[in-house]
Each structure stands twice: as structure tokens, then as C-alpha cells.
Symmetry: C2
Subunit: 463 residues, 2 copies
């Protein structure tokens, strides 16, 4: 049980006294911090606290722990499953001011950043050094938030998700204690992998304040192309063969016929048809790139793909990927006046044809328009469900989302490839994980956060 | 406190009654299961139990939990830091009979194996499918043991360690409950990453009985070469530049002048000199391989490397890598009558020159002969300390080992890149991890194994 109102007020006053202008109970800030970018009811915190250092986070958590006041970490506010909603009030601990890039070690291909650095800011900073950070979720996400939700993106097929790109981190525990997890080496075999326990824990086990990241060298040449297929199966079969051949594909995205139609209209992609389509990116030395291109072309042609146009020019590639990254806006333009709600699920790649054909049946049965886009090399796919604003539309969208996730699980998949659980997908935790695994998760949560102040009500379903 | 002798006997009788001929108290088996391949005193279990199924492991652990009888999981017996020693007696739970390859999914590039499958057996099985499993620690290790110790090897620079190559697993908890952790998808964002908590936990949190592994397609062309350098710094600088350029190097190994001398003598490597030397392997399509070769040659020549001889012929490559894999035997032949004790530490690659030059000073000061070999792309290196048999020699080796690890830690490194902690490196846990991190590890251990029956006395130092 939470402390009564007076206890909560005492805690908030103590925080205000400690943090002064970093602390606010203003209505606008509370509203802004009550939700992410998903379509869930807002849950406002009692106050917003802007942390400016690990010490701030530590002091805040020590006070909240003392008073059993809930704390929800807040980064870019871009999460999609209700991760930042303050279900039980308390404070939203905003880390966006912790935006320093602490160090870049070019020789070691690593860097250390504060949790509030966005991936865009990091890549801008790195560009002059010939380096980049490859994890690219859609929004203006912070690195801390990406750790919390185990984020991923279009480059995961080559470079892995945030999980494979974090070396170490500074974490503040529920009671305010500060610890360093992991380190700077590329691998280590010394004790329990606590950094990876934190990654994907959605702020329920600790709050990440600094992260040591792996970086990559910018390849000499990068080429991109679009290929259109007669059938969805041809796309999936091509993707499977590309992976089996060990082609180090940099990006490989699938757009279904409906998504492609929306993109053609929105991004004025001339000369393309509303067919299942793949976007490719390959990179490396020039000979390697040419070799990859011809291998991919050959495979795709064998599977009914045609009309390749490769480009190594920055502006042409940018235009192509701009169209890919604009799918959400293309969808909104495709059904004006509707809102767009993104789904997320993942299956083994061999099940992807069955999954997507089944998803299309589910979408048709729902009567909704919902274009499909997928990180096909990973087996991860999204739809943007287009519904009229209002509760009735949301209800239909939720029903479709649940159907898609249930289908993914029945095909050996997972309820989320990259958006996480938050509030919206707790119902699937019991379907995906057995009771023993959930017991372990609950036991670890109780051990690390005995007063249940860290993002209470998220990720773990009630027993 | 453990139960008194009678209690332990009761437990052992119960296990014998349940498991019959799978259970033995024979002296030879107990001796064989009292140690790995490191040079530590043997600690024999009271009995050896051969599990043949997950159900066996579950039944055994339920009984051991009931009676608070210690259980040490045993795979190939190849660990180097005393991981399998039965410090407090109890049973050695041998999983080597669980050696089935349950399924291989070529389209998904994954497979499911029982914990007792060795990496060699798996790769033999996969070869006809054009697939391979890339994690290659030195010994005839089992996949279960590799998970337990967070194993790695020469291909980690390209494909990652066992951590990056496990998708999911079946785990039996201390009380006998069975759970599935992770899954089959290439990524997932649904809950705490318990599979990765198990990886590297050295049998102290649960016993892994089945593993879902990622596989790789065998590249079209593979080429290998040796390059000799005037200076160690030239090797390290070349390695850093190769990583920065994003060359997808398959293997990159460093042998110091002493190790090279031992290898020249033992493996009859004609035409080579006792100089710092790098072994390279590149793979991919033929054009990509040629391009990688010329890039690597150019970089190495700029750093004082010379005398490349690339080979794409299987037999020539095999001879080259046989020499690399025979370093341990080359060392033993180099100082006949001595025993060879392997060290293990890792630093950020930019610190590798300082680390190895310092290590050479430490080795000289110790008066021991200790050739150095390293997975240079990772910053991970080993020495084989050659000492006369007997306690005095072991003592000198231990002192040198500690000095090398302390030096690695002072350079921002880790006490182990791939051999783990076991018994021998517990002393370094407190130097590498802060007290809060160790508290979390102990709390998780107490939560998952409240009676401390799983490999007691390992990995975690006493508070």
C-alpha cells in the first residue's frame, strides 16, 4: 500500500526543497510526462523532476524510497506501450537534461554518454570521427530509454539491438545506491550479467544514468536499392537465402502492398507499383558492395523480384530511406483524419510468410486499414493500424493488435521485437513466459525494489 | 550449515534409489569429476550422477534441494578456473550423456541442442547443411558448459561470444522447477533477460539442460594468412585500424615473439622468425575476400608488417590454424617437463600494447617462461605460464597470474575475457565490481538458490 496523501505530500515537499527549480508540479509538465507516443490513457505524475546528474538521480531515489513514492524514468517520451505513464502517480524523473557525450574512444570504437543523449545527437557528434552508433528506433529516443525498452531498429540485422551494443552502464538502484555494471571491454566472463538484466527492464529494476556504447566505423561505400516482388513469399524466401549465404546485409526492410501504395502516394516514389517490396542497404568496400549487390539481385530474381535500382549517392539513398522512415506519415496521409497505432511482434523468419499472410486475414476481418512494414531479416514486423479517433476505434485497434500478437506467439514468436511491454502488453507476458520464469522475474523485482517504487504496475503481470 | 553426515547419506541413498546405475560413488569417477583442466587442488564430489534428460536434472535437484545437498554441474570438464570442483562435496551432475542435437532449422539459422553436445559434435553435424556454430573455446567443451562460463574463442571478433549466440534455453532451478528462458526469435523485448542472467553464472543460479543456438552459413571463401611485425605496437595498431575500417575480419590472433618461437619449433613453421606475429582469417564472397586481403595487407605494411602469404586452400589453412590451436602443446614442448597454466584477462584494445609490454615485464620479473597469445580484436589475451610441477612452481604461477590480472584491471580491463571466475579468480571480483554490484549478485543468488546448493563457494566472494 502506498502512503496516505499526507505522506506523499511530505515526500514531494522534501523533493522540492532538495531540487528547487528542477522540480515542478505544473500542470503542463505533468500532462506532458503522463504518456509516451502510444495511444493509451494518460497517467500523470504528481510532479516532474529534471535530473542533471547521477547524484541527482541517487538523491531523488533515496528520498522516494524513504517515502515509498513511485518514480517513473522519462527520456525522450517516445515509448509506444505506455512505459512512461505514471500509473500510481509519484514523480516522473526526466533525464533529458543529462545529455552530455562524456567521452569517445575512437581506437576502442566505444563511447560513454549520459542517459539523456539522443541517438541523433550522438551520431551528429560522431560523424566527423568516421564513426556511428547503429541502433535506430524510429523516434527521437534517448540512449537511456533505448536501454530501458531494449530498443532495436533497421540496422539490427547487421549490428544487433541495443543489447549487443552496450558494454557497461551506471545504474541507480531503488534505494539510491549507485553501481557500475559491465565495463569497457568487448566481452567479460566475471560474474552475473547485470547490465543485460537492466536492459529491457523498463525502469522497474533501476535507473540507468550513463552508458558505455560500442560504436562502428562508417563503411567506405553504402548502397541502397528497392526491389518489388510478385508475392510476399518471394520476399521472405529471398531474405532467408540472403541470411543463409552470410551476406552482411546492412538493412533489409519489407513493405507490403498496402504500405507500398501509401508510400508511393506520400513520398512520390515514381515508377513503383503497390506490390510487396524490399528495401536493401549494403555496405563495405567497393568490391564487397558490388559482390553483395549481384548476389542479392540474383537471389531476388530467382524469387520473382525485379526492377532493382541501386544507388550509392548520398542524396538518392537518403531519399529512399526517407520514404522508408516516413511510413508512419504515409499511413496517416493514406487515411486522413485517422490516427495511426503501431503494432509490434516477431517470429522466426521461416514463419514470416505464414505470419504476414495470416496478419492480412486478421486485418481484413477487422475491417481496418493497416499497412505492414517489417525488419524482415529479424522476423520483426509492424503494422500501422489506422482508426478514427475515439474509444470505439481504439477498441478495434486493440482487438486487432491482440490477435496479431496471439498469432505470432502461436508461430513460436514473441509479443514484442522492440517496443517492449510497458502497460499495453502485460497481458501477453503469461502467454509467452511460463509461470516459473515469471516467478523469477517477480522475485528479482522484489529483491531489487522491495518497496515497488520503480515504475510500478509495468512489465510484470499481477500473479 | 550443511546437514550432518547422516543427512547427507540419506540424500545420497535417495538419489541412488531414484537413479540406479546412473548414480555412482566409485572412486575413479569421483576423482575424474573433482577438477577441470586447470591446476587447482581437486575437490571430489561424494557421488557422480549422469543425467539423461531434463526430467532427470529436475528430479535430482528437487531431491538435493530437499536435503540441502550441493550440486555441481559437469559437462566436458574443460573449465580452467576450478568451476567444476566439488568444494563442499555433494554430487557432480554430469550432463555429458545429454548429447542430442534436437533440431536444426536451416531457414532460421538456429538449432536446439542438449547441454552435453560438444561444439565439435555440433559442427560435424552441421557441415553437410552448409552451416556452422562459431563459438570455439579451446577444449572439447559442451554447449552447456560454454553457457555456464560465458565462453568465447577465436571467432568472437566476428560472431560474438556464446552470449550473442544463444536465443533461449531450458533451465532447471535449484528446487527442481523447469523453465524456458528466451525463445527462438532473433530478438525480443518482453521482460527481464533471464537467459543472459544464466549465461556466465557458472551453475550457481540454475542448470542449463537445452539451448537454442544461432548458427551461421559457411562463407563461400575463407582465406588465412600470417604476418610478422617488427614491434608488438605494430600488431596492435594494425588491429585497431582493421576494426575501425569495419573490415569483417573472421579471426585475428596475436602471438608474441616467445610464443612464435615455440610454434616455429613445434609446428615446423618454416620461413618464419621469432617476432610478434598475427594470424588472420577473412571470409565472404571471393571479391570481398580479395578486398579484405588487400586492405589488411596495406594497413599491416604501414605498421611494419611483412611477408604475407594468403591461402584459401583448406589444407593450407588447416595447417596454419593447427599451429595456432597447438600453442598450448608448443609451449609444453618449449620447456619439457614443465606444466602449462593458462592465464586470461582482457583490456580495451587501445590499452593492449601497454598491457602486453607490461605483461612481458611482469613475466621477466617472475623468472618464468610465459608465451603470450591473444584474441587481439577483442583485447583478450592469454599467457601459458610454464612452471615445474609442484607447489613452489604453482605458487609462482599464481603470483604472476594475479599480477597480470591486476595490471589488466588498472588499464580499465576485466579479470577474465572468457575463462570465468570459478574458484581461482574470486579474489578479483571485489577489485572489478563495486560492493553494490556484488550485493545485487548475492541477492539474486540467494533468491534463486536459497539453500545455496548450486555450485557453492564459486564465483561470488564471501561478503
Amino acid at each position: 500500500m502506498r502512503e496516505a496523501f499526507e505522506g506523499r505530500e511530505t515526500a514531494l515537499f522534501a523533493l522540492q526543497a532538495r531540487f528547487g527549480t528542477q522540480f515542478s508540479r505544473g500542470a503542463a509538465l505533468r500532462e506532458q510526462h503522463g504518456h509516451g507516443e502510444g495511444y493509451h490513457l494518460s497517467h500523470e505524475p504528481d510532479a516532474v523532476l529534471f535530473a542533471e546528474s547521477t547524484e541527482d538521480v541517487s538523491a531523488a531515489l533515496a528520498l522516494c524510497h524513504e517515502h515509498s513514492l513511485p518514480v517513473v524514468a522519462f527520456g525522450g517520451g517516445t515509448s509506444l506501450e505506455g512505459q512512461v505513464n505514471a500509473l500510481e502517480g509519484g514523480i516522473s524523473l526526466d533525464l533529458s537534461r543529462m545529455a552530455s557525450i562524456i567521452e569517445v574512444n575512437a581506437a576502442d570504437l566505444d563511447c560513454r554518454v549520459q542517459a539523456g543523449v539522443t541517438r541523433q545527437a550522438l551520431n551528429l557528434h560522431l560523424r566527423d570521427e568516421g564513426l556511428f552508433f547503429p541502433v535506430d528506433p524510429g523516434g527521437e529516443a534517448t540512449i537511456g530509454g533505448m536501454c530501458a525498452t531494449r530498443a532495436s531498429g533497421t540496422a539490427a540485422v547487421r549490428y544487433g539491438t541495443i543489447r549487443e551494443n552496450v558494454l557497461g552502464m551506471t545504474v541507480v538502484l531503488a534505494d539510491g545506491r549507485v553501481t557500475q555494471l559491465g565495463g569497457r571491454t568487448r566481452k567479460s566472463a566475471t560474474g552475473y550479467d547485470l547490465a543485460h538484466l537492466m536492459i529491457g527492464s523498463e525502469g522497474t529494476l533501476g535507473i540507468v544514468t550513463e552508458i558505455q556504447l560500442r560504436l562502428q566505423g562508417i563503411p567506405e561505400v553504402t548502397a541502397a536499392a528497392i526491389c518489388q516482388f510478385e508475392t510476399l513469399g518471394g520476399c521472405v524466401e529471398s531474405a532467408i537465402q540472403i541470411m543463409q549465404m552470410g551476406i552482411p546485409i546492412a538493412r533489409m526492410e519489407l513493405l507490403d502492398d498496402v504500405q507500398m501504395e501509401a508510400c508511393i502516394l506520400y513520398s512520390r516514389l515514381e515508377g513503383y507499383r503497390a506490390l510487396p517490396t524490399m528495401f536493401f542497404e549494403v555496405s563495405g568496400g567497393p568490391d564487397s558492395v558490388n559482390e553483395q549487390i549481384s548476389a542479392i539481385e540474383g537471389l531476388c530474381q530467382d524469387n520473382g523480384g525485379a526492377d532493382f535500382l541501386w544507388s550509392t549517392r548520398d542524396d538518392e539513398r537518403a531519399a529512399l530511406w526517407k520514404a522508408r522512415h516516413a511510413v508512419y506519415w504515409a499511413c496517416l496521409a493514406y487515411r486522413q483524419g485517422h490516427i495511426g497505432i503501431s503494432t509490434d511482434a516477431i517470429v522466426p523468419i521461416s514463419a514470416l510468410t505464414a505470419m504476414i499472410l495470416g496478419a492480412k486475414q486478421d486485418i481484413d476481418a477487422s475491417g481496418l486499414v493497416a499497412p505492414i512494414v517489417g525488419h524482415i531479416g529479424d522476423g520483426n514486423f509492424h503494422t500501422v493500424m489506422l482508426v478514427p479517433p475515439g474509444e470505439a476505434g481504439l477498441e478495434r485497434a486493440r482487438a486487432l493488435d491482440h490477435k496479431l500478437v496471439a498469432r505470432a506467439l502461436s508461430l513460436g514468436g514473441s509479443a514484442s521485437g522492440e517496443h517492449g511491454i510497458g502497460l499495453a502488453k502485460k497481458a501477453f507476458m503469461g502467454a509467452e513466459h511460463d509461470p516459473v520464469a515469471l516467478d523469477i522475474m517477480r522475485a528479482i523485482k522484489a529483491t531489487l525494489d522491495p518497496r515497488n517504487i520503480l515504475n510500478p504496475g509495468k512489465l510484470l503481470p499481477e500473479p
